[in-house]
């Protein structure tokens, strides 16, 4: 399966969405992404990690090392309050955009 290269903005949105449910490590995010998209695409870790780091720099995420289920150590990311706000804004915008497009497509 090819790895699709997703535009950064969209990737950020998806990361924030996934992490809004529960904190997760990088591997977990990539697996969840693949699962949620029904295997349509797997995100390239070479894009995922830079996004995670950027979001962390912008205080949208907070990272901390925690033991996993198997007692390994992994770096978990979770959403901050600011991140939550950003997610809401993005979702709002996305919905409006898709709504508009859908209207156009259906109305035309």
């Amino acid at each position: 399966m090819e790895k699709l290269d997703i535009p950064q903005g969209t990737l950020d949105l998806m990361i924030l969405t996934i992490l809004s449910r529960e904190p997760m490590h990088g591997y977990g995010v990539s697996q969840r992404l693949a699962a949620l998209s029904r295997g349509e695409f797997q995100v390239n870790p070479g894009s995922l990690f830079p996004s995670l780091y950027r979001l962390e720099q912008d205080a949208k995420l907070k990272a901390e090392w925690r033991p996993t289920e198997n007692n390994r150590r992994a770096k978990y990311y979770r959403l901050t309050a600011a991140g939550k706000r950003q997610l809401e804004q993005h979702r709002e915008r996305w919905n409006r955009a898709t709504f508009a497009v859908t209207c156009v497509l259906e109305g035309a």
């Binding site: 490590h25 990088g26 591997y27 070479g46 600011a82």
Partner: protein, 877 residues
């Protein structure tokens, strides 16, 4: 908020890079572990699972790199890493970088120092308001061969002020005579008498107090303006200097102003005191009293050309009353007057430093090209390992910038002592103003060095990243082709040519200088002490003569003194004091154009200085006031009028040319002494003995003393000899003739030294360049050479082949360089002081030196080539 957090994260990453990197590494490792665990659960073997997991990640290093560059401020982190990488490179390759930095430093330092001096002398603003509007006005003496321009008269100044249309105002300045006494040792200080308009014309306000007014000038009020230097030196910078009464020439004067430290005006920086000119009534209408220098300010909008034309017609009108007939004036910009002859020297040296900079850049380029080509493989390897092309280019760029930065710093450090040395080249009139670092030049030469460093440091990265990695890896040590070799070789030719040109010019200057040093001055200059003492305190003629004679007698009595004599103007210390003369038999108005230097001497002056008699005799005791008036003339005078026959017995008049004047009989001809300056040619001159002068306007007496011992050792005794006659009589400018001559030669001396230094540096750099390029070529072609040797070429032939290439380049450069040198020497004739250069020895020596040095530079790599073991070479990559 976000921004703050962002900034914090950027700084923390850089500050704690090691732990951050470790953190990242652990995180990615964890990813791999977890992915591998999943795959094992799905049934893969651990080894296989691991491999797949790594593939899924996409390569740990690549992802790390993407994280690093993808973060905010990632570029900053990259830059910091590159700089430290660059510095590590420098530490690891000290040889290469040492040479590269030294090369860059020489070029930048040299040109920075040179141009800063250039700026200080020729471009930096003078301490006057709007200095480019100021001009000097001279009388044009087209028809004498003493000098082409002469002093004006106060009477002319008055008329110019009244009648001209092109100047806002004019000022006149005459020689002053000031002996300070009373609050310290009697001291004669350089001074000028100036009209009150000087200060407004120059636009130079005083630092303390005020300047004198028109009223004070016209009424001869005894006020003075002094220099900063005098204020500090003699009065200790006293705060009550304004209003203080000081004693000048035994009269009371009030100090009313002090000029700023940076102020100076013609004729030299050392003027310490300015008095009101206060022209007496007769001087205002006398068009024959030529001792005034006139400075004027152009009106706004008036061009120099316009002023020249206006003044020419005006002066012809006004000077109709001049006994020499009407004459035009010469108007020159003040700046040109002040810069003087040093201008040519500076231009030459600036050219030389440009040449040196070019050579340095060429060398740097060659060095970087060689090194760059050798790194082609490194680039290929790194690309294959996954380094981003952009990052690679960035890294090389930073390395070049580090090189450029270090080279520039070294260059600045180098330029500081260089400038101190150059300061002494700055002409006297501009004085000891500090030459400071000119930031514009620094910026320019830094930019140049940067450009060279960047261009040829980047080349390998850019080139290598275009080549597919496999090729780069296969192609051996480098991928440099024939084209790059040719480029490098032509660079070598260029820098060799420049070095040769510099060497030849340096050689010519050296020739000139040696000629000047050894030139026959017409007398013996060793062990000759001189000094001047003013005569103003002796009001009448007889008392002056008596004083001078007594002074000479006293000095002669000092142990260690062989003989002593007096003259009104010591050789080389003054510009022309000339007079018109009329030979017996010439019509009454035939004097026009006939001028000669005039000197009044004591009887044993000629003997003291060791002048050489061509025919007749010098003065003797029988030449007294009441006896026949006699004169000694010099050879140029004699040749001018009596070529081929003897002038002895001929009579002429000078000074007073009408019937009241006395006839002087020529009794001797002396070999020429270049009275006006060591570097000038001897002008016609007449000498008469003091006792027979009608009146002496001479302000000073100059005394010359031939000693059997070190001249400096009798100085205290000399002072005693004068003070025992008159304890308030000052002595000024006590110096040996050698010192005077050396001082006159200082400009050519320093020019020669500097140019010589530049030339030798250029030679050094050029030969390093040749060595470097050839050495690199040998390394590159080790393979090829190995093949040739395996095929039968002897080591001797290899030696010759490599050496020959180098020598070809050298000879090519030599030829071009000689051509350049001929052109350059035409341009610098002014600096050759009329000495006709003898090209042959200079060219021969330079050629031999160059070929010799180049041969050595070629030999080393050539020998290395010839000793290559074919077996090793063939395996060499």
């Amino acid at each position: 908020m976000t921004l703050l957090h962002r900034l914090k994260s950027i700084v923390l990453w850089i500050a704690r890079r090691d732990s951050a990197e470790q953190d990242l590494n652990d995180e990615l490792q964890a990813f791999v572990d977890m992915a591998a665990a999943d795959k094992v659960r799905a049934g893969a073997t651990p080894a296989e699972a691991h491999r797949l997991a790594v593939l899924e990640l996409g390569g740990v290093e690549q992802v790390k790199e993407r994280v690093r560059s993808g973060r905010h401020g990632g570029w900053l982190d990259a830059a910091a890493r590159d700089v430290s990488y660059g510095l590590r490179q420098v530490r690891r390759n000290p040889g290469f970088f040492g040479v590269a930095i030294a090369t860059l430093a020489l070029g930048i330092g040299g040109i920075t120092a040179m141009f800063s001096t250039f700026d200080a002398v020729l471009i930096r603003p003078l301490p006057y308001a709007d200095a480019d509007r100021l001009v000097m006005i001279w009388d044009a003496l087209a028809n004498t061969d003493i000098t082409s321009k002469g002093n004006s008269t106060p009477a002319e100044w008055i008329e110019w002020r009244r009648l001209n249309t092109v100047f806002t105002d004019l000022a006149a300045s005459q020689p002053g005579d000031a002996t300070l006494s009373g609050d310290g040792d009697p001291e004669q200080v350089p001074s000028r008498k100036v009209t009150w308009t000087l200060w407004s014309v120059l636009g130079a306000p005083p630092m303390l107090g005020r300047v004198f007014t028109e009223d004070e000038d016209l009424k001869s009020v005894r006020v003075v303006v002094i220099s900063y230097g005098l204020w500090q030196r003699r009065y200790g910078g006293a705060s009550d200097i304004i209003g203080r009464t000081i004693s000048i020439n035994d009269e009371a004067y009030e100090v009313i102003g002090v000029m700023p430290r940076s102020f100076y005006f013609m004729p030299s920086r050392e003027i310490d005191l300015w008095m009101p000119a206060s022209f007496p009534g007769w001087m205002r209408t006398n068009f024959t009293w030529h001792d005034a220098q006139i400075v004027a300010r152009l009106k706004p909008g008036v061009t120099l050309q316009h002023a020249r034309e206006a003044m020419t017609s005006l002066s012809l009108q006004v000077t109709a009353k001049d006994f020499r007939g009407p004459h035009p004036v010469i108007v020159t910009p003040l700046r040109e007057e002040i810069a003087g002859k040093t201008q040519t020297a500076l231009i030459l040296l600036l050219g030389a430093s440009v040449a040196l900079l070019l050579i340095a850049c060429v060398n740097l380029t060659n060095l970087l090209l060689s090194r760059g080509a050798a790194r082609g493989r490194e680039v290929a390897v790194r690309l294959a390992l996954g380094a981003g092309r952009g990052r690679l280019v960035g890294q090389f760029l930073t390395e070049s910038l580090v090189l450029a930065a270090l080279g520039t710093l070294a260059g600045i450090a180098l330029s500081v002592p260089a400038m101190r040395f150059l300061e002494r080249l700055v002409p006297e009139a501009m004085g000891a103003g500090r030459v400071t670092l000119d930031w514009r030049v620094l910026v320019f030469s830094t930019a140049l060095g940067l450009a060279a460093a960047v261009t040829f440091g980047l080349a390998p990265a850019l080139r290598g990243s275009r080549v597919a990695p496999q090729e780069g890896l296969r192609g051996g040590r480098g991928t440099a082709g024939a084209r790059s070799h040719r480029f490098q070789h032509s660079l070598i030719v260029v820098e060799t040519a420049l070095a040769v040109a510099l060497l030849v010019c340096g050689g010519l200057l050296l020739q000139t200088f040696r000629h000047l040093r050894n030139t026959d001055l017409g007398f013996r200059r060793e062990r000759l002490l001189t000094f001047e003492t003013p005569l103003f305190r002796y009001k009448d003629f007889d008392r002056r003569v008596a004083f001078v004679n007594a002074a000479v007698d006293n000095v002669r009595a000092i142990p260690g003194v062989v003989s002593a004599g007096a003259i009104n103007l010591i050789p080389f210390t003054n510009f022309a004091t000339a007079t018109f003369y009329l030979l017996e038999g010439q019509p009454k108005d035939g004097f026009a154009g006939q001028a000669a230097l005039i000197r009044n001497v004591s009887r044993d002056y000629f003997a003291t200085i060791g002048a050489q008699l061509r025919e007749g005799r010098f003065f003797t005791a029988s030449d007294r006031k009441s006896s026949l008036r006699v004169a000694v003339v010099n050879e140029p005078f004699a040749n001018r009028h009596f070529a081929g026959r003897s002038p002895l017995g001929q009579r002429f008049k000078f000074g007073e040319l009408d019937d009241d004047g006395h006839w002087f009989t020529i009794v001797g001809v002396v070999k020429p002494i270049p009275e006006t300056g060591v570097l000038d040619e001897a002008k016609p001159a007449v000498y008469r003995v003091r006792d027979q002068c009608e009146q002496i306007d001479d302000l000073n007496a100059g005394i010359v003393i031939r000693t059997a011992v070190e001249p400096a050792s009798i100085v205290p005794a000399v002072r005693q000899a004068i003070w025992s006659l008159d304890k308030n009589q000052p002595l000024a400018r006590i110096q040996t003739m050698e010192a005077i001559v050396n001082h006159q030669l200082s400009t050519p001396s320093q020019s020669t030294t500097l140019l010589g230094a530049f030339a030798l540096l250029a030679l050094l750099l050029a030969s390093l360049g040749i060595y470097g390029v050839l050495s690199y070529a040998v390394t590159q072609r080790t393979n090829e050479i190995g093949v040739r040797m395996a095929l039968g070429a002897t080591s001797g032939r290899i030696l010759v082949a490599v050496g020959r290439r180098g020598l070809e380049l050298t000879l090519c450069g030599l030829a071009i360089g000689l051509g350049l040198a001929v052109i350059a020497s035409r341009l610098m004739t002014a600096l050759l002081y009329g000495v006709r250069p003898d090209y042959v020895p200079t060219v021969a020596i330079v050629s031999i030196v160059l070929v010799g040095v180049a041969a050595v530079a070629c030999f080393v790599p050539a020998r290395r080539a010839s000793r290559i073991d074919p077996m090793l070479a063939l395996r060499h990559e």
